[in-house]
Symmetry: C5
Subunit: 367 residues, 5 copies
């Protein structure tokens, strides 16, 4: 997990070559995948789509179609991204945020378009997420995705098939569909997380051991990561739904309210997971204390029973000569043993009455 976090941070902070360099200087992560541009243009009646190698050819679509979706995947090709920025008049600061792929979810309004950043969590083992940047203009949507935007395929398919409301609506409904697709990615991840938490909870209650601490700690770390992704996203959704956003009308707003609603639900669940994991630590610590107590009880009982017996044997081992009682009896030895047994039984009875030790019944009553 430490590895994950470090990677995260380094990318955040390596955003510019030198502190003090001009803001808006675009510097591409050398490990970013190659940029692919796919254009889907559609109207109520028909649609067209093609892969584009020269960003300039996007202009053609813009002129002839009511809605153009420029779908960019991979952020490795600075020239193409800059060219798109020029064609659509995107602000350099916005482009900088597109390339620096660890922004928090947010909504920013520029003069001609709205810039929306959301994060799509990956359904992999640890918790990680990819940044999705969406520009919503009057007649276009541009989406930037770190790597292959598989989660947008169903949206593209729905445009192709003309099903749902997409074909008959403007670009804001397309933007909504993309955001909704990203939010949908949360559900299986949160679900799997909840399963892990429950498994851990059962394990701690059943058999608490030292390795639990690491697991609780790791679980908490994951939850923290999830919350850091989902809270800003919830806030961004609230802005989208409550504030006046460019190119979003009242009808569309109902859909964005639904997005907000889903994020509220996710955050709600994450908060309850947080309460659960905080409780787990408490349960663990108190079971640790119980275990200490139990060991101490065994130790105390052992000492209490055997130490007096040892004393008795010591007394009979003293070197005296002459008529010490019980020494010259034949039965002296058995008398000593009997004394020992009597003392031991008395001790055990005493502890049993105090509830420290006992048969099954007493033990149950005590715990």
């Amino acid at each position: 997990m430490a590895r994950k976090r470090r990677k995260h941070r380094e990318q955040v902070f390596s955003r510019r070559s030198l502190p003090g360099s001009a803001p808006g200087t675009l510097i591409v992560d050398p490990e970013a995948p190659r940029t692919k541009i796919h254009v889907i243009a559609y109207g109520a009646e028909n649609m067209a789509e093609s892969d584009v190698t020269d960003a300039a050819s996007v202009r053609g679509f813009l002129e002839s179609w009511p809605v153009v979706w420029v779908r960019v995947s991979g952020l490795g090709d600075l020239a193409a991204i800059t060219q798109l920025g020029e064609i659509f008049g995107l602000h350099r600061l916005a482009l900088e945020d597109v390339i620096n792929v660890h922004q928090r979810s947010k909504v920013e309004q520029y003069r001609d378009y709205s810039y929306i950043v959301v994060r799509a969590v990956n359904d992999a083992d640890g918790i990680s997420s990819e940044q999705v940047s969406i520009f919503l203009g009057k007649s276009y949507v541009i989406s930037f995705h770190e790597s292959d935007p598989g989660c947008f395929d169903p949206v593209a398919q729905r445009i192709r098939e003309g099903k749902g409301l997409l074909r008959g609506s403007g670009p804001s409904h397309l933007a909504y569909s993309l955001i909704d697709a990203c939010i949908d990615r949360f559900f299986p991840v949160v679900e799997r997380y909840g399963d892990q938490l429950e498994t851990l909870e059962d394990a701690i209650i059943a058999q608490p051991g030292a390795s639990m601490v690491d697991r609780i700690h790791e679980t908490k770390g994951r939850l923290m990561t999830l919350r850091r992704i989902s809270w800003p996203m919830r806030d961004a959704m609230m802005v989208l739904y409550r504030d006046p956003i460019l190119w979003v009308n009242d009808e569309e707003r109902i859909y964005l309210r639904d997005c907000y609603d889903h994020m509220v639900q996710i955050n709600d669940l994450l908060e309850s997971y947080r309460d659960i994991s905080a409780g787990l630590m408490e349960v663990y610590l108190s079971s640790l204390g119980n275990r200490t107590n139990e060991i101490m009880k065994v130790l105390t009982i052992l000492s209490a029973v055997f130490i007096p017996l040892t004393l008795i044997s010591g007394v009979y081992g003293m070197n005296f000569e002459g008529a010490v009682p019980a020494f010259d009896w034949r039965g002296g030895f058995f008398f000593a043993l009997g004394l020992m047994v009597a003392v031991a039984v008395a001790m055990l009875l005493y502890f049993r009455r105090k509830g420290w030790w006992g048969g099954e019944g007493a033990s149950k009553g005590n715990r």
Copy 2:
């Protein structure tokens, strides 16, 4: 409880067949009970009611009565629900929320109606709740209930008998009565919860044992579930009472303020329960510490008393020959025993003065 939670979550997340499918796609839970539609139509003077098998026949009521209450129970019949949606012009996103029965309480305004989601807690052993969806239109109220809406029977009865204000008021008073009926369900559940908490509190103070941790943990989990149901409900009630809601006038608003008031009272009580249960863990942990201390004291006293005695017996057991003091005396043995008793008594007196051990009086003073 773990079982409860899992069930909960799965239903929340299985809302769509495939991530990426069109929003507003209605998918019915295959285990949902069959849909029954009951219509109650009334005016100030008279009323009519009937079970409806074909949703279309609701139209007839709408035309001839001032207020129509469409009471839907069981969400298993997609066709009927969709048909109702068409008749009343309900938004697909709202219908989607009706079917996915784990929404938080909320109030959403659409153009022609308000959509209200509240949750009715079940008076069963664990804490669970059912979703009640209410559409409030100009001349109708549609209520959707997961299973049999028993808690609405008294409202129906009041309409039949013409008692109270219901018959003379519009649909908003009906909606209020339904919400109020759901809120009423909280009171016995919270009451029973409070009783359990008090029993637990008394048990912990009287006799803290290891099993208490599980019980505190479980109690906290239930409280968390209750709070997760009641807080959104309180917020929804505040929206209902403070914000301008479609088809709710000022007179009606006084009643909704009363609903809000009750939810505030419930949440207030739950918060104080939360403080109590947080305190319980503290009490438990400190009593655990006290118990450890007590065991340690017994161990220490035992060791302190017997170890020196054992040493004395050891000393007299050493093998020397000749005129070691007290060895050749007849009374040597009794001298040794006397020495032991003297040491033991001195130790016990010392511990008693330090307050570690003692008669009843000292013990009371110490604890």
Copy 3:
């Protein structure tokens, strides 16, 4: 305390005979004291007062006096209360709150009057409070008090004597005086609570014992009860002073600001008590830890000193025959004893240097 809380809750929840019954159905607590109505009517010049058996006779006062104070004590007589409600046009929901005597403090505005609920704490041993409902109309004030409203006697006396501003002011000043009288009840209770907390604090620092946990727990419970009474009251006072309230003018508002001020002061004090009592648990737990440590130290020192001595005595007790060093010496016994003393002294010196045990000086330095 558990008893107190239960009683509290039951009354809250038994507000209606059956869940689902019509809201505003008035059901009187069968144990409530008999209702007594006392009317005080006054103007700047003169005043009149009388006990009233028939609520209808209040109308006479209303017509002939500028200010009428209807002082109702005991809520057992439903008919009288309902009749008053009809005479003054009080809303059924407000009357319901009057009778269900465990409302939180609040201010509600109706068309012709303001409805104010405050709570008067009782200066008894536990923390309990009574509900005082005040209706403030254009020319009247109606006060409902659970039992005998002794705390209003000084206000009545001031009206009789014509001292202060009461006689020359309108009903809002009377309402203010009543609220102020209720707030005054808080001061001795909070004062006594503070004294108890200080006593407990001193006790814990002086001599922490197991019984302290119960006392801290009980003290926290009382504080929680006090805070649950005082916080809503503070909020209600803020509403009274900040929001436009019916029949309260700017001049009167200055007085209400004073009420708010006092509640802020009380809550401020309660918050600081909360911090203190949270700190007490910490002090207690750490003193528990210290005590464990101290016992462990004694045990360790004892074992460390005596176990080697026992070994020495054991070694000299081994059964060998022949020329084992120091065995056939006469002084062998004394050599053995000397060896033991030397080992013991060495151990004690070592522990003293480590600061675990020592003379008064070292001990002080260590703690």
Copy 4:
């Protein structure tokens, strides 16, 4: 400290002779110092000042000077204070607050003047504070100080010398100067507190002992007192700077913003002290746990090493006759001793490898 707090509370609560007495009844604390009135009147050109025995003579100043500062110290003389109240038309509730010297800092607006309460902390050993009441009118400032207002002397001196902006400005600048003088009192107190906290921090890290708990507790108590003084003061400063205050213009507002700024700084520092002192308890508790661990380790090692040796000596002490191995050898005794040494060394090596005990190097590595 307990003594301090009690005194505090009693004065707060003894504000009126009897609960229920008319609000605004002025009752002077019989122990309050005698009232002295000093008047400083000034304009841009010249100034005059004199001690005043008859409050009525203040009127003369008011008529002939642009700005009159009535400086009242000691609140023991009810007549003088009441007379001042009449001359300047001060509200009885405000005068009540002047006399009850434990108000929180606040700003209250009356029709003709603003009433400002600030608190001046004393640079004495514990944390205590005095109430300063300031009335700001169109052409006058009245300041009430519990005892000798030494902290206002520099302000008076600046008026006399005509330095700074005071002489050329109106009464609001004078009020600002007085408030600023009170705020200045905070700085050395907070500084000294910070020094104490650091000393304590160093002590805990160096050598944690049982007495630390009391010191942490006391330090937290002081901090709490400081915060209770400074937070309301910060709020009052914000009101002064943000809200429209009578007789304060925009130019003056810049100065009040500076006051607010200083209070923010002080509260900021106090909050960070709070974090530090919370951390101290954690450090103390964990060092307590470490100490327990260390003692337990010594105990365990001792037992582990000596108990087997004692067993060996016991075995050789058994009374058998005949050819038991090593019994009739001459070297038997040395064989036994060698066996003991071997077992002891083996145990110690084992513990050293486990990191429980060892040379300096291992010990360092372990901690």
Copy 5:
């Protein structure tokens, strides 16, 4: 670290020679470095720059250039700073804040200019920061830096080279660039802090020891310092971006939003670090508890195994004469040894079944 904090505080509090002296009295820290003034003046076409010894010569630049940047480093020369204040009409309170270099970040509006305070963290070992004061006027920016403002060099360089937007924009873009340069200083510091935290985290999980407490404490202290710098800075950035600020137009506001965004990101990261470090203490404490448990287990097992054996040897060491069983057998000795081994093995098997001790497999299962 204690040293750092103390220094910090003293400078904050030594702001005036005497409490009560006139506000706005400028008193220079005698240890402050000498003041150097560097002027950079530029327009879209050309630029000029020079070191200035006489502050008065700044006037020349002001008259002939569209944008003048007065870059002051070192705050030791009161005369020069005062002279600058007169030339630009800076308020004395603002100048006081410039000189007292421990202000929180803030934005203050004066009539003709905005006064912005930000802090630049130093990339040194501990966490420290320098105050940067920026005055933004209609045609000028004045920056005050405690010591050498190296972080502004890249900005100056960009002006010289005419790269980026600086030359073509007004003074507000320059102010933005300076603020951005200060914010850039945060990134490496936060990054290094994160690395340290991760190292500590790994160390605690791998091998928790007593020295960890100090390191956690120190780490928390640093984080607290960082947060105290970054939170006010975030707030100031929000004011800059949201509120109407003098001389900042809408176009420029987009850039300031970017600054705010970066501060949000930094604070976000610091908050997650705070959660991590809070978790570390928990992990440490529970590992401490585990360790105690483990030591106790060894102690208990040892006692449990050896104490009975010692008793057996003691029994055989008793001095009886005659036909005690197994005493006169030759094999008696071996019988006794065998008995001991049998008891020891039985004990160990019992503990192994209880999971307290065992082979690798059982041990793994237990932890």
